[in-house]
Symmetry: D2
């Protein structure tokens, strides 16, 4: 299983008075990585929502190692760790683009749901994407 | 015409590495004041959206005098300046709660629209609220 | 050990196009609860920073149960779960103020550090607050 | 005088429950454009802050024409409109990358200040950058 790479540059708005990126903003970066991951599969999250599928978050986690700073170039690495029933787990790494120093790691767990937040059997709803996502998982089934 | 008062406390997340509140966040505070303004009229913006009316922003403006800082208690003062056709103009003042020092002033201009962003004749759509809003305006008609 | 209660109202800015509060914003709410927790001890995080102590985050976690929505009144419950060496763990609950329905739970782990992000022996740096924080912990020592 | 072009993709976090980008976030995009503008001059805002110069905002303005949506590719165009004494005015255009449709326009006015927010005579503090900035202005002097 491989990582998908996404790049961004730290915004001034993302810093706080500690002089580093506010810890909550890493979750936005995970989302940027996740969106780009879908795009790399030839699919977009926009399209998914148009089909009536949303992916609400069940849990999120982040471990902070080195603080990111304004104007730095950041590499976000995203992969699917596992897909089980209606649950999808993404893993993330946040690195300095320049020297690949690891700044943070994290994960998010998502459900497949309809627009009323009811779980859906994604395997039946969208079998083509289900197969693609399964091929991407880091775990053997 | 009178101001409606709303209070909040500055969040760490709202600061940036300059050690003060990031300038873009004053627009969120204006929105907090605006929501509370509707509530003070015995109406809520939630209810308005349920009736199919949204109020997209046409323009926004802010003038910064003294930077707000983390943990300070802030007073947001909101009033309607004018309501003309499908346009509503709000005015805002941001002050220190403690000493009433003026930190910033601003305004936002809104349209009345349906969920597809098409302008609506609000006077016809919701005549009761139209009358209330007109009574609130700072200008004489 | 008891929880400290803090109240806020959901801002429009905090929602996303799913029509609910963006998942990353719960971490801002945890921070609001944490700031208020310090205040309830007769201490402020502002004062702590003036003494040269910052509390960078080591890890953060959130579990989402029911999505929060615009304009709802929210209760944030905060407590210290444990304090060990240079590490402090906070626990959080996010509830509807109206009916106490549990929306989310979470935790954050913090280090005591100086302004250069070097760990400090907080027991020596600020023995008075150290004792207060220890009295607050949920765990027996 | 010419515009400097910067590209970004709309984040899910930037949307609100209206299904479009929250109006306050355009000011963050202006900041992204401004940072990139300095970079295009062979200078960085990071370097400026290291020299003890900050550029607090005096006023900001945005006019909204077409709402930006999640996942769209955005072009931010930035230029200096004028530089007079201790005041610098930036202009911005926000466009769809795809078809160059104009979504919003805006401006921000900044002061040159030291770390205590006191105005500085930038012409004396950093004559080299002063000359470069003046060459960039849209107005004839």
């Amino acid at each position: 299983m491989q990582w998908n790479d996404t790049y961004l540059r730290v915004r001034y708005q993302e810093t706080d008075q500690m002089g580093v990126v506010y810890h909550g903003n890493y979750y936005t970066w995970f989302e940027v990585g996740r969106s780009d991951f879908f795009r790399s599969l030839g699919y977009s999250y926009v399209l998914l929502e148009k089909e009536g599928i949303i992916m609400p978050i069940i849990s999120s986690y982040c471990e902070y190692k080195i603080p990111a700073k304004y104007d730095q170039e950041i590499l976000i690495r995203t992969r699917i760790n596992s897909i089980k029933g209606a649950r999808l787990e993404f893993n993330y790494q946040i690195l300095h683009k320049e020297d690949n120093a690891l700044l943070a790691t994290g994960k998010t767990i998502h459900a497949f749901a309809d627009k009323n937040m009811k779980p859906v059997n994604f395997k039946k709803t969208n079998p083509a994407l289900w197969i693609i996502l399964n091929k991407c998982t880091a775990e053997v089934f």
